[in-house]
């Protein structure tokens, strides 16, 4: 598993250097859920993912108490960054290109978990959130 993660990080660094191709297409939600769940030795849970995503948190930055601050409660609709840029829908059903670029997934989990929770998300939490967003 450790080797796998290293490979992911390498792919991520390469993709970052290349300047973010729109969708690297190196993975899928299903693959990512399986990888994160295996890393965490847990079963992914749609309910836990929903609670984490929709809930309000206090550990992170005061500007972003919840994922919904930017992604909104309606995950099939377009969200907005605090600076006003559109964010494509998070629900896999509304946006099939979601979760196909492992570097992009890693980048935004790292940033946004820190912004909202004040820490990185665990592999189990990532599996839960991806499971919830794939179930919509």
């Amino acid at each position: 598993m450790k080797g796998n993660f290293r490979k992911l990080a390498l792919v991520g660094a390469l993709a970052a250097l290349a300047g973010w191709p729109a969708a690297a297409g190196d993975t899928s939600a299903r693959q990512l859920i399986a990888q994160f769940a295996a890393q965490a030795h847990t079963q992914p849970s749609v309910a836990r993912g929903k609670a984490l995503f929709m809930g309000r948190h206090t550990g992170g930055k005061p500007e972003t108490p919840s994922c919904t601050t930017c992604h909104t409660q309606n995950l099939r609709a377009t969200g907005h960054t605090r600076a006003g840029k559109a964010i494509e829908p998070m629900a896999l059903s509304a946006n099939p290109s979601r979760f196909t670029d492992s570097a992009k997934v890693a980048k935004w989990f790292r940033r946004n978990c820190k912004s909202v929770l004040g820490r990185e998300c665990t592999a189990g939490e990532k599996a839960d959130i991806l499971a919830w967003l794939s179930s919509l």
């Binding site: 970052a16 250097l17 300047g19 973010w20 500007e63 600076a83 840029k85 790292r110 940033r111």
Partner: protein, 367 residues
């Protein structure tokens, strides 16, 4: 003695006069009163005034007796003698421009030309626009702004004097001079001084006018096509653009000095209240590019006026004194509208914001 109404001010002179009144009025209101969003209106109206004056100069050599400079322009000796006669209440009646009025015509036309010249020079130095942009630096703009302002106040003073002269002469001669400038007709008595009759040559005037316009157009176009020194970098690093625009508009590197950029890039883990961190390599690459093309590399106005000083609470471009002064006239609600979103979204109203130019002609004026 009865005085018979006769045509004095020809159609061109009247059209010129009232068009000049309108263009100077618009230029004065936009320049003195309204906000910087009206710079384009100001430039257009003021340039129209300059064009009108140039046309009037041509007509001054080709028009009929009352329009010709030769018929009313006098030297200082006759001007002083006429002024003394006015003070003594014994001046002769001039049907056309009297010597004092003639001096006013020349002074106003010279002032309008001077305002146009200093205005375009200021626009060249400050906004890097127009025929003087290639030769002037941003450091020239404060002096040019002061000169332009001094000329503008001179025009206001001359307009006030002109109105005073019109009222004075209207009362003294019992004839409404404002109406005469509308109808073109004035009463002419046998004792009145009239200029020698001259035949107007509208064809020649038109030919010379068009030739002059062509020469001027070329003289303006040629330097406009020259490269502008201190232009903001045009080629945007794709990594920088992609990473920055994940969340917000692309802020051109020339908007901030390199030390500001270095600090922003060193604190991406808390970037205006969010974690926007990047891997070390990408961070270093973008930082180097931003620093290389930072404000120090450009000579635009936007590169000279913004500087973040977190110690003084200036953490955003919209916190800087210049930004506030320039946007104070805008209704705060406009920034919250769905189309704009926030004060950070320059590109919502400045169509060329992401190029770093901030050309006033590309700025949208909305309530």
């Amino acid at each position: 003695m009865r005085r018979a109404p006769q045509p004095v001010w020809d159609a061109f002179v009247r059209l010129f006069h009232w068009a000049l009144v309108a263009s100077i009025a618009v230029a004065a209101v936009t320049g003195f009163v309204l906000g910087p969003g009206f710079i384009p209106v100001h430039v257009v109206a003021a340039s129209l005034a300059v064009a009108l004056v140039l046309a009037r100069i041509v007509w001054g050599f080709a028009g009929g007796g009352y329009a010709r400079f030769a018929g009313f322009v006098t030297g200082p000796v006759r001007l002083m003698r006429y002024a003394r006669d006015v003070l003594g209440g014994r001046e002769a009646r001039h049907v056309g421009h009297n010597p004092l009025g003639a001096a006013m015509v020349l002074a106003l036309m010279a002032a309008v030309l001077a305002a146009g010249l200093t205005g375009w020079a200021f626009l060249g130095a400050g906004a890097k626009l127009g025929p003087f942009a290639f030769i002037l630096a941003h450091t020239d703009s404060p002096a040019l702004a002061e000169m332009h302002e001094a000329v503008a106040f001179t025009i206001l003073a001359l307009v006030a004097l002109h109105l005073g002269g019109v009222i004075f002469t209207s009362r003294r001669e019992g004839e409404n001079l404002v109406r005469a400038m509308v109808t073109g007709k004035k009463e002419v008595g046998p004792q009145d001084i009239v200029p020698p009759e001259r035949e107007a040559r509208p064809g020649a005037a038109l030919g010379v006018g068009l030739a002059l316009a062509l020469v001027l157009a070329l003289a303006v176009a040629a330097p406009v096509l020259l490269p502008v020194p201190g232009a903001p970098v045009a080629e945007i690093d794709p990594t920088a653009r992609a990473e920055c625009t994940d969340c917000h508009m692309f802020y051109h590197p020339s908007l901030l000095p390199s030390d500001n950029w270095e600090q922003i890039m060193a604190t991406l883990d808390n970037h205006f209240g969010e974690d926007a961190s990047l891997d070390a390599e990408t961070t270093a690459e973008i930082t180097a590019w931003l620093s290389a093309h930072a404000a120090e590399s450009a000579d635009t106005r936007a590169s000279k006026v913004f500087r973040l000083d977190p110690a003084k609470g200036v953490t955003r471009i919209s916190d800087t004194p210049f930004w506030k002064a320039r946007h104070g006239w805008i209704d705060p609600a406009a920034f919250r509208s769905p189309r704009v979103g926030s004060r950070d979204n320059c590109a919502a109203c400045h169509a060329d914001a992401e190029t770093g130019w901030f050309n006033p002609f590309f700025a949208e004026v909305e309530e």
